[in-house]
Symmetry: C2
Subunit: 253 residues, 2 copies
């Protein structure tokens, strides 16, 4: 299948590579930023453009991987064509394509992508949606070579899924970052924390997070909690510790 990538960020990069590896042809890459477009085009061995009006209208699939804030504008600026237009945004509705494309859908890979880290796509769950039954089949077919986990999910539910992913991934990573900061101040390498991080993740494969909870907050050990609060140096840091500890305690009651 011939694909045009609209966007050249983390998701476009990883998904573009996966599509290419699965045998699809990337016809063209678009990005407003010449540098990003060129870098991804080089990886995918295809042409690129920084102008929307230079986009090919011959592709079968147009894959939009853009910041939510710019996605609707870019869609509205494009000339209609016969291809299937699909975006990869967790929290944007499918209907943003309405009035601009005849065939459209969503293909949301729920994973955290960075340009420099390759990801094993086979285990990534994809949540898809389309405005026609045939295009839904087409999306399933495209994904067949990429992942085993394809779920059909309407926009209304997908936005909650995306919100849940912010907690499980983005906020979790921020907890790692705060942990790293505390260790940095004491000259302890972050590396020592990795076995604990791995086990914390592995544990919820077996126990629900509610049952997996350990630590001073769930025991409501105020001795430890107060000592920890006094060790944290900024008001913001204390506030985070206090709020999360209270919430863990509330949950456990």
């Amino acid at each position: 299948m011939n694909v045009v990538l609209v966007g050249a960020g983390n998701v476009a990069t990883q998904l573009g590579m996966a599509l290419k590896n699965a045998g699809h042809e990337i016809m063209q890459v678009y990005s407003r930023t010449g540098e990003s477009a060129a870098a991804l085009a080089e990886k995918l061995e295809c042409p690129y453009t920084v102008r929307l009006d230079e986009l090919s209208d011959k592709a079968e699939l147009y894959l939009f991987s853009l910041k939510d804030a710019v996605l609707p504008d870019v869609v509205a600026s494009m000339k209609p064509n016969g291809g299937l237009w699909v975006h990869t945004a967790g929290s944007m509705p499918m209907n943003l394509f309405k009035g601009y494309a005849r065939r459209y859908g969503v293909l949301y890979p729920m994973q955290t992508f960075s340009k420099i880290r390759a990801v094993d796509f086979r285990s990534i769950p994809f949540f898809i949606e389309a405005n026609g039954e045939e295009d839904m089949m087409l999306l399933k077919q495209i994904l067949r070579g990429i992942t085993e986990k394809v779920y059909v999910l309407p926009s209304e539910k997908r936005k909650y899924l995306h919100l849940a992913a912010v907690f499980a991934c983005n906020f979790t990573n921020h907890m790692y970052r705060l942990s790293e900061k505390l260790l940095e101040e004491e000259g302890i390498p972050f590396e020592v924390m990795l076995p604990l991080i791995d086990e914390t993740a592995a544990k919820v494969h077996e126990l629900s997070p509610a049952k997996a909870q350990t630590g001073p907050a769930v025991r409501y050990d105020l001795n430890v909690i107060d000592r920890h609060l006094s060790m944290l140096k900024t008001e913001r840091f204390k506030e985070i510790y206090r709020l999360l500890s209270e919430n863990i305690h509330e949950e456990a009651k």
Copy 2:
């Protein structure tokens, strides 16, 4: 080596099993709660007691795995003997033994333990401390059969390590829990989140958490942030989302 376990909670259970498997002899288990003491004693095939004055004074190692709040009292209630007294608490100083035991130390396994989930000890980092060089060697020797990762760390640093572990483990698990709650409300199984959770943990083996951060907060995508806030149902939930997003944004600046 002959060991007496003072405490029968999650840490005592897992560590007691590991010591037994490494060839040490568990002489006796103490817990204030008869039920916990009996359950662990059965696993370890040894006698138990609920009375401190019935503790054997013949052991070479006394391992205290108790809530921080009760640890000093239990230590103060024990009769002195010739054994090495060691506690497993991340944030309690070694010196709490001073005046009660002649030989003492700390053996802190940095991991999250639940009674019903077995843990692979070989990858767990242990942070140790002792009031004498010989006992430090003895602790290293005991751990040789259990883990490859033994670090000597003074109490002053260990308490920061423990605080960092609260973020990397306890608060991280709470993020999983909040994610699970959001999915429950939509009837989506938590299982779909596991590949994302695994990748989020795996990623920080390669990238620092600061570099691994993704999501609306680090992009400071206010469209998404505001939409997410409006989807959260309780004030507490919104407060957590807002505080963490602001902090991610501050960090990224």
